[in-house]
C-alpha cells in the first residue's frame, strides 16, 4: 500500500520544498504563502485568476485551496525586494488539529525526489502505515468525485506538482462531527485541500525546463510530467490512500467522467 505515494509529513512552520515561506495569522486560521517564482505568480494572475474565481464560485465543495487574498508587496529599498503572497484558508486550524501531523500526498515520479524528501526530514507517505484515510464508501465517493472535477480544472491550466493536504483529528465531539463532511465511522475527521496549484506547464519557464529535461533525457519529474499523466497518478495515489471501511473495494473507474479522459 502506498507505493505510488511520496507524500511527506509537513512540519507546520518549516519551509516547503518549493522554497516558499509560510506565515500564519494570529490564530493560524489563514496561511500567507510567498510565491517566490515570478512565473508562477504571473501565470496565475494573468491567465488563471478569473477562471479560479469562477470555478470556486460554482464548485462550492471544491477541495482546491481557498485563496482569500493576494498581495504584491513592494519596498522602497535600493534593491528590489518585491514579492508576492497568497493568503489561504488553513483547513487544519484550531486546537482540535494540534495533536496530529498533517500529510501531503502527491504521486511518485523520479526516485531522486524521494531522496530529497528524506534528506529534508520529511516522512514518506509509504512509511506511515496505519495513517491512511478511512472513510465510508459514500464519503470516499464524494471526495473522489470532487477531486476528479478539481483536477480537471487544474489540467486545463496544465498545473503540475499539486498535492493533497490531509489533516486528521480524533478530538471532535459528536455534535461537531456532524458538521464535518469527511469523517470516518469511528469519529476521525479529515480535512482535505489541494495545495500548490501555481506551477503551470504553460508558463515559459516551465516549458523551458520541460524541453531541457527532454533533451538531457532526465526522467520525468513532478514539474515536467504530462499534466494528464500527473492527474491520473494523483487520482490513483489518492484512491489508494483512502480506504473504505464499510463497503467492497472502491474503484476509480466507477467515475465515468474520469474514465473517459
Amino acid at each position: 500500500m502506498g507505493e505510488c505515494l511520496t507524500g511527506y509529513q509537513l512540519n507546520f512552520f518549516l519551509i516547503g520544498l518549493s522554497g516558499s515561506t509560510f506565515m500564519f495569522t494570529a490564530n493560524e486560521t489563514f496561511i500567507i504563502k510567498s510565491i517566490d517564482r515570478e512565473f508562477e505568480w504571473n501565470y496565475f494572475w494573468d491567465h488563471m485568476m478569473k477562471d479560479y474565481v469562477q470555478y470556486m464560485r460554482s464548485e462550492k465543495d471544491s477541495l482546491l485551496t481557498k485563496i482569500t487574498a493576494a498581495y504584491h508587496a513592494t519596498t522602497n529599498t535600493p534593491i528590489d525586494l518585491s514579492s508576492h503572497f497568497m493568503a489561504m484558508l488553513n483547513v487544519a486550524h484550531g486546537p482540535l488539529f494540534k495533536k496530529s501531523s498533517p500529510w501531503d500526498l502527491k504521486p511518485s515520479y523520479f526516485s531522486v525526489e524521494k531522496d530529497l524528501l528524506k534528506q529534508t526530514g520529511g516522512g514518506l507517505a509509504e512509511d506511515i502505515t496505519g495513517h491512511f484515510i478511512m472513510l465510508p464508501a459514500s464519503a470516499k465517493r464524494r471526495v473522489m468525485t470532487q477531486l476528479v472535477r478539481d483536477t480537471a480544472f487544474l489540467e486545463k491550466h496544465e498545473i503540475l506538482d499539486y498535492s493533497l493536504f490531509i489533516a486528521r483529528s480524533d478530538e471532535f465531539s459528536p455534535s461537531e462531527l456532524m458538521e464535518e463532511p469527511y469523517r470516518s465511522t469511528n469519529g476521525t475527521v479529515y480535512r482535505l485541500a489541494i495545495l500548490d496549484i501555481f506551477y503551470s506547464g504553460k508558463a515559459t519557464f516551465a516549458k523551458g525546463v520541460r524541453t531541457l529535461t527532454k533533451i538531457t533525457h532526465v526522467p520525468a519529474l513532478t514539474i515536467t510530467a504530462d499534466p494528464a499523466d500527473y492527474r491520473r497518478r494523483f487520482l490513483e495515489a489518492t484512491d489508494k490512500a483512502i480506504l473504505v471501511d464499510d463497503s467492497p473495494e472502491f474503484r476509480l473507474s466507477d467515475f465515468k467522467d474520469f474514465a473517459e479522459q
Binding site: 518549516l14 519551509i15 506565515m23 494570529a26 510567498s34 478569473k50 474565481v53 481557498k66 482569500t68 493576494a70
Partner: protein, 253 residues
C-alpha cells in the same frame, strides 16, 4: 659509511661556519658576497651550516645549464622553490645560466631560505634547485624533492583537487545563497518596510490587486463564510507571526 657521510667528508665540500647564516640574514649584500664566493670558488659544492639544518650548495658550471633539455628547465622552474613564487618571479628562470642545488635536511625549513633563494634568482644568473636529503644519521636514501615524484603529476593532481573544491563551493553557493541569504532576509524586510510605513496596511496590499480584479477575493470570502473571520485575523499586521526559510521564528518582523 653511506653516501651522505662520504659526501660530507669529501675534499670538494667546504664548510662555511655558522657565521655565514648570520650573514645570510643581514641583507642582500651578504648574499651577494656569498655568491661571489660561490662563483669564484674552486669548489663545486659548498656545505652551509648553522641554519638549524644543513644546506648544500652545488654549483654547476655555467655551460652545463644551457645543455639541459627544455623539459628539465621546466622541471626546475616547477620545483619546490618556485611554487611559492609569483609569476613575475617565475619568469626569472629565463636568466638561467647556471644552477645551484640546495640540499636541506628538513624540507620544513625550506621557507626559511626563500629570501636567499630569491636573491640568487634576482641578482645572479643562477638557478637554484632545492633537494631534500635525509640527515646523515638517517639511513633513508637521498630523495630530491623535485625528483621524488614527477612534478607535473603532482601539480595535475592538485589542480583537479582545487577545481573540484571550486566547483563544490560554486554549486553549494548557488544552492544555498537564495536560501540562506536572499529569501530569509527578504520576507522580514518586506514586512518591516510595511510596518515602518503607517500608510501601508494589510488592506493596502490588497488594493493593488483590487484595482485589476475588484472584490474577487472579497466575494469568495463571503461565499465561504470567512469574511468576518478574515477581518478579525487581518486587523493588525503586527499580530502576524512567521518562520523564515531556516525555521527561525520572527514576530512582528
Amino acid at each position: 659509511m653511506d653516501d651522505n657521510q662520504e659526501f660530507l667528508q669529501s675534499d670538494y665540500v667546504d664548510v662555511i661556519g655558522s657565521q655565514d647564516y648570520t650573514h645570510l640574514r643581514q641583507g642582500l649584500s651578504s648574499y651577494l658576497s656569498l655568491l661571489q664566493v660561490l662563483i669564484q670558488s674552486r669548489y663545486d659544492e659548498i656545505l652551509l651550516t648553522g641554519f638549524g639544518h644543513t644546506i648544500f650548495l652545488t654549483a654547476f658550471q655555467v655551460p652545463l645549464v644551457p645543455q639541459l633539455p627544455c623539459t628539465r628547465k621546466r622541471q626546475l622552474a616547477d620545483s619546490a622553490i618556485f611554487r611559492g613564487l609569483s609569476s613575475t618571479e617565475r619568469n626569472l628562470d629565463r636568466r638561467l645560466t647556471a644552477s645551484f642545488r640546495l640540499y636541506s635536511y628538513s624540507p620544513t625549513h625550506i621557507p626559511d631560505i626563500y629570501p636567499f633563494i630569491l636573491h640568487l634568482i634576482a641578482h645572479s644568473t643562477i638557478m637554484p634547485v632545492v633537494v631534500d636529503i635525509p640527515s646523515p644519521a638517517s639511513t633513508a636514501p637521498v630523495q630530491p624533492i623535485n625528483e621524488s615524484k614527477p612534478t607535473n603529476t603532482r601539480r595535475r593532481k592538485w589542480k583537479w583537487i582545487l577545481i573540484g573544491i571550486a566547483i563544490t563551493i560554486l554549486v553549494g553557493a548557488a544552492i544555498l545563497t537564495p536560501i540562506l541569504i536572499l529569501r530569509p532576509a527578504k520576507v522580514p524586510r518586506i514586512l518591516a518596510a510595511f510596518e515602518n510605513n503607517s500608510n501601508r496596511t494589510l488592506g493596502m496590499w490588497d488594493t493593488d490587486l483590487a484595482a485589476s480584479e475588484p472584490n474577487s477575493f472579497k466575494r469568495l470570502r463571503k461565499q465561504w463564510g470567512l469574511e468576518s473571520l478574515w477581518k478579525e485575523e487581518t486587523r493588525n499586521v503586527q499580530e502576524w507571526k512567521a518562520k523564515d526559510g531556516l525555521g527561525n521564528s520572527w514576530v512582528n518582523a
